[in-house]
C-alpha cells in the first residue's frame, strides 16, 4: 500500500521545474517535503494531482497508475490535494463548503433532485452530520454559517483540510498548511493531522516551517532546483551539509 512517484520530469520552456523526481511512501504514512522557493515542490503536487501533465515519469497509488486520470478522477482514486493559497468557495458558508465536498451525492444529479427528493433529503441529513463532526474536529463550528470568503487565513487553511477530509481520501497532499497561520492555530492543525494519521490517512506535507514540520513527520524529502537532494529522518537530513548549503544558503556553519 504505497504512493509511488517515479522519475517525474517537467519543464516550462527551457526551465526544468522537476528533474527526475522520485519518492515513495506508505499511503498511510507521513512525509514532509522541504526546499527553498522555486525548488519545484508545488509543481510536484500539481503534477501528482493531475493539474499539470508530466513530461516524464508517473504516479501510482496502491500499485494503480494514475497517469491517465484527470484531476477529479485522481481525487476520487483517494489522493486529494489542498492549495497553497486557499481556494475556498467564498460565497458558500463553511458548512456548505464541507457538504459540497462529500462524494457520490444523488442530489448532485439534476434527475436525482427532481425524481428522488426523499433519498436526497436522507443523504443530505447524513452529510450534514458529517460536516458538523468535521467542523467540531477542526474547531470551525463557531463559523459554520459564515461565508468562507470572510474567514481568516488560518481558518481557510483549516477549511481546506476539512473539505479534503469530507472527500474521503486515503492520502492528502497538504501544500503549506502553516503558511500565514498564527502559532496557536499551527499547533491545532498539527495536532489534527497527527490524529488523522493515527486513523490511517496518509499525508504528504509541503512546509517552510521546518521546526513545526520536523515535529510532525518522521521523514523528510529535501528538494532543490527540481531535484531530490536528500531523504531521511529530519535531524539526519537537516544535518546534511548539502541540505544546509541549499536550504539555509550555507549561513549556518
Amino acid at each position: 500500500m504505497t504512493l509511488s512517484v517515479r522519475n517525474i520530469g517537467k519543464s516550462f520552456g527551457g526551465f526544468r521545474a522537476l528533474d527526475d523526481v522520485s519518492l515513495e511512501m506508505p499511503a498511510d504514512g507521513l512525509l514532509g517535503i522541504i526546499g527553498p522557493n522555486g525548488a519545484g515542490k508545488s509543481t510536484l503536487f500539481s503534477v501528482m494531482s493531475g493539474f499539470m501533465a508530466a513530461d516524464a515519469g508517473g504516479v501510482s497509488l496502491h500499485g494503480r497508475p494514475l497517469d491517465r486520470l484527470g484531476a477529479a478522477a485522481r481525487a476520487r482514486a483517494g489522493m486529494v490535494r489542498t492549495f497553497q493559497v486557499p481556494r475556498e468557495f467564498h460565497h458558500l458558508t463553511v458548512r456548505e463548503n464541507l457538504m459540497a465536498a462529500a462524494p457520490g451525492q444523488t442530489g448532485e444529479n439534476l434527475l436525482g433532485v427532481f425524481l428522488s427528493p426523499r433519498r436526497v433529503r436522507t443523504e443530505e441529513a447524513a452529510i450534514r452530520v458529517e460536516a458538523e463532526a468535521t467542523m467540531d474536529f477542526l474547531r470551525l463550528a463557531p463559523v459554520a454559517d459564515t461565508p468562507a470568503g470572510r474567514l481568516s487565513g488560518g481558518q481557510k487553511k483549516l477549511l481546506e483540510l476539512g473539505r479534503a477530509l469530507m472527500a474521503k481520501p486515503r492520502l492528502i497532499l497538504l501544500d503549506e498548511p502553516f503558511a500565514g497561520v498564527n502559532p496557536v492555530l499551527i499547533g491545532q492543525i498539527m495536532d489534527r493531522v497527527a490524529t488523522l494519521n493515527a486513523r490511517g490517512i496518509g499525508f504528504l506535507v509541503i512546509e517552510h516551517d521546518l521546526e513545526a514540520l520536523s515535529r510532525l513527520v518522521p521523514r523528510l524529502v529535501v528538494m532543490d532546483r527540481g531535484r531530490v537532494l536528500a531523504t531521511g529522518a529530519p535531524d539526519v537530513v537537516l544535518a546534511d551539509p548539502a541540505v544546509r548549503e541549499a536550504y539555509l544558503g550555507g549561513a549556518v556553519a
Binding site: 481525487a75 481556494r87 475556498e88 468557495f89 467564498h90 460565497h91 436525482g112 479534503a164
Partner: protein, 296 residues
Amino acid sequence: MEAYLVAIAIIAAIYVLLTLGLTLQYGLTGLVNFGHVGFFAIGAYASALISMQGMPLVVSFVCAAAIAALAAYPIGLVALRLRDDYFAVVTLGFSETVRLAITSEKWLTNGVQGIPGVPKAFAGMGIGMAGAVATLAAIALACGVAALMLRRITRSPFGRVIEAIRDNEDALRALGKDPARFKIQVLALGSALAGVAGAFYAHYITYLSPDQFIPLVTFYVWMAMIMGGVGRVSGAVVGALLLMLFLEGTRFLRDVAPDLISAVDMASVRLGAVGLALVLFTLFRPQGLMGDYTRR
C-alpha cells in the same frame, strides 16, 4: 389598451423565461453565455416548423425544448474546455452561426423572407382577446414552473456544486468532481428554457425571420438579469419586467414630447434609455434590485 397591455405582458413573460435560463447559467454557475438568443431561435424555428407539419403544439413545444437542449450539448463539449472569456466568444459565435444558418438554409427556413403563418396558440378561442389572454396565462404558468424548478435547484446539492463552480472550479476538481459534467447539464437546461421561450414567441408573433434573433436580444436578457440581481430567481423575474418597462415606457416619451423625438429616433432613444438605466444600476445598485449572490 387592454390588448396592448396583454401583448407587452406576453413579451415580458418571454423575457422572464429567457432571463431564468441565463440566471441558471451565469448567475448561479458563472457561465458567460453570450449566445442565449441562438437557443431562443432554435426553439422558435423548431416549434414553428414542427407545428406546421400538423403536429399539435404540445408536441412542438416539447421538441423545441429538447432540440435547444441538444444543441447546447455539442457546444458544451467543445466550449467548456475553454476559459471563461473564450467561452463567451464561442457562444456569441454560435448564436450568429445559428442566425446565418437560418438565413442560408432556405429550403427549411425560407431564409430572410421568413416563415409567415405560424399557427397561433389557442387559435380555437377566436380572434378576440381570449386567445391572447390564454397565451399569457400559459406562459405565466411556464414562468412559474421554471422559477420553482430553479428555486428547487438552488436549494439542492446540485445547486451547491454549481455555485462552487462559480467560486472556484479547480478546488472542486481537487475534491473529485468534474465541473464539465455539471456545466453541460446547466447549459442544456438553460437552453431548454430559452427554447420554450422561443416556442411561445413563435406561436404568439406567428411570423419568424432571422433578423428577430440578433445578439441584441441576448444583451437585453443580460441587462434584465443585471438589473434584477445576478443569481437570484426573483431577480430574473423583476429584471425582465423592468426591462420591458424601459423598452416600452420610452414609447410614451413621444406622447409627452412629440416634437422632441421623431419616430425614427425612437429605436435609439429606447436603447439609450436602457443603457442609461444599466449605468445607473451599476453605479447606485450594483447588486441589482433583488440583491445578488453575495447574499449572506
